[in-house]
């Protein structure tokens, strides 16, 4: 039996004056012990709702879930003694210092004052927060705040860790730093379920990826498996003027084997059979049409392409607050 198992999770919300939202629509999930699974999907796909169910915050309308054989719905208090949760929703207290926050969490896990303080000191060192441990979290940078938040999830050295969009809204340097920390953690055997809307994050951190859309898992596998399931090569063209899009679309459609798709505003991608010859034919046609391009090249499929292929739309990368579940 997998370490984390969820089957048939359904959760619906009825916002005032709006149709019923099926945040989870029969979601199944299996996370083997000691592995990292990423839930990948756009805002509103149901990632946060899934984590909220597994961390005992919300009860699903239907379905069941177990962690290490313990029934999440039947014995939430036992689950809480073995999980650590961190992310966009599980905040820290702004008015307490970093150290005080960790001691508070330790005491609330009932470790006793002495152990709680010892563990807080260890974590402050591990997360490189020694210099700021005596300042209220209010004055922390975004990256420091995420680190203290993640540290809070590690207080009991939990066998299972839930990270909900751990790097959303962070600058690239802080993201890399946080990835290093997470990689260190998983190297000593912690089972991790993380959610992300960043394809590169899932690619880098996860052993296995479950792609979620509209409350269901629509594909799963390793990053490589998902990429090869999309198959083939791609040609990508980045335009100087996005207004040339329609013309480029027609050209790409002529030489490609599938629908051309727009990503990132001005980059068009199309699957092709024979990369090099398709690329040169496309460049020829584009320059004959007098269209200026910044960049043209072949690309191996990325998880972006996987997502596009599976859902028919591009993964959202905006850093807006997830609004998938009314808190």
């Amino acid at each position: 039996m997998a370490f984390i198992e969820a089957s048939g999770l359904v959760k619906t919300y009825t916002p005032k004056g709006a149709p019923v939202v099926r945040a989870l629509d029969g979601l199944d999930l299996e996370v083997p012990q000691g592995t990292v699974t990423a839930l990948l999907g756009p805002n509103g796909a149901g990632k946060t709702t899934t984590v909220k169910v597994l961390t005992t915050l919300i009860r699903p309308d239907a379905g069941s879930a177990t962690i290490d054989g313990v029934d999440v719905l039947g014995d939430p208090q036992a689950i809480r003694r073995m999980i650590g949760a961190s992310g966009q929703y599980a905040a820290v207290d702004e008015n307490l210092t970093g150290f005080e926050n960790l001691v508070m969490v330790g005491k609330l896990y009932h470790l006793g004052t002495k152990v709680a303080k010892q563990r807080a000191t260890e974590l402050i060192e591990l997360f490189d927060l020694v210099d700021s441990q005596k300042r209220p979290v209010k004055g922390y940078s975004g990256g420091m705040r995420r680190r203290i938040d993640l540290a809070g999830a590690l207080v009991i050295k939990p066998p299972v860790l839930f990270l909900d969009e751990p790097t959303t809204g962070l600058d690239p340097r802080s993201r890399l730093g946080l990835w290093d920390v997470i990689e260190t953690l998983v190297s000593d055997g912690t089972t991790v379920l993380l959610t992300t809307q960043y394809l590169d994050e899932a690619d880098r951190l996860a052993d296995s990826i479950s792609v979620i859309d509209e409350g269901r898992v629509i594909a799963k596998g390793t990053a490589d498996e998902l990429k090869s399931s999309v198959g083939g090569q791609r040609v990508a063209l980045t335009l100087v003027d996005p207004a040339d899009g329609a013309a480029v679309r027609d050209i790409l459609a002529r030489f490609g084997t599938g629908e051309p798709a727009l990503t990132g505003g001005r980059t068009w991608i199309v699957p092709v059979d024979d990369g090099p010859s398709a690329l040169s034919a496309i460049i020829g046609a584009v320059s004959a049409a007098g269209i200026a391009v910044h960049d043209a090249g072949m690309r191996r499929p990325t998880l972006d392409d996987v997502f596009l292929q599976l859902t028919g739309h591009v993964a959202e990368q905006q850093e807006e607050e997830a609004t998938e579940a009314p808190a």
Partner: protein, 280 residues
């Protein structure tokens, strides 16, 4: 215990549900007291406003309102105390709403702690602020001429009754804070409701002078019972004041105690249940 959870995971020290509740409740109270220390605005406003009220009412209205006996200032103090602690309790409502909004409540709810402890800590926080505000007001009152004409025992009974009522009211506000979930709405709504409630009472003027509909409202108003209780226990009831016709006006202390018990019996379980089912 399975292999996965025993390898290196830190275990809880043994405890009973009661010892857990007490220790969690203490941690949560500590958290809220640290907030008072780190964000002193709340405390400063909770203290400056009553000082201002004591001075303003005492000097502005005191010149116009003639109260037999010790004069208007002594009459006023019980009213100001009641108004201040009732407003002080609303903080539980906006703070619960704010904590929910910030996500810290979700963090607590993923921990194996007692949910009731969050509410106990919250209402204790109000109790501390109210006790501090009372102390400062009493000092100000004594400076401007307030006199207590009864024994220390009755004096402390009055203080205790005011704080107890406010404590029970904090539970009501905590429940509303979790239901409404918007700190701004809670603040504005409580101002709109509590301002008339404290003014259409015997807090600032003797209620027998009010127009009949207002007088009837004032007599049944729980704030009036609280003020009347405190006034009696401080020995600040002006000589010759007729007790109202209502039972509540004639038995203010019993009314307040019954009210406190009812509020606590209803709103403690209601709040704990509300907390347990948040975001479901």
């Amino acid at each position: 215990m399975s292999t996965a959870t025993s390898s290196g995971t830190l275990q809880a020290i043994p405890g009973t549900p009661l010892s857990r509740l007490l220790s969690d409740g203490w941690v949560m109270s500590w958290r809220n007291m640290m907030k008072i220390v780190r964000v002193p605005d709340v405390l400063v406003f909770s203290l400056i406003q009553p000082i201002m009220f004591v001075l303003l009412f005492s000097y502005v209205f005191g010149a116009a309102i003639d109260i037999p006996g010790d004069g208007y200032t002594s009459f006023l103090m019980a009213g100001i105390f009641a108004q201040t602690v009732v407003f002080g309790s609303t903080y539980s409502g906006s703070a619960m709403a704010q904590d929910l909004k910030d996500g810290i409540i979700d963090r607590f709810r993923t921990l194996p702690m007692s949910g009731a402890a969050v509410l106990i800590g919250r209402t204790n926080g109000d109790l501390v602020i109210n006790a501090l505000a009372m102390t400062v007001m009493m000092g100000t009152g004594f400076i401007v001429g307030w006199r207590v004409n009864t024994s220390p025992l009755e004096f402390f009974a009055a203080v205790g009754l005011l704080l107890l009522f406010a404590y029970a009211f904090s539970w009501v506000m905590a429940f509303l804070g979790m239901s409404v979930r918007s700190p701004e709405v809670i603040n504005n709504a409580s101002f709109l409701i509590l301002f008339p409630l404290t003014f259409i009472s015997n807090a600032f003027v003797p209620s027998e002078n009010l127009p009949t509909p207002l007088r009837i409202f004032a007599e049944w108003n729980p704030v009036s019972s609280l003020v009347q209780s405190a006034r009696e226990l401080f020995g600040n009831v002006p000589p010759g004041t007729p007790a109202g016709d209502a039972w509540t006006a004639q038995n203010p202390i019993a009314t307040v105690l019954i009210g406190v018990v009812v509020l606590l019996l209803v709103f403690i379980p209601l709040s704990i249940r509300k907390f347990a089912t948040l975001s479901r």
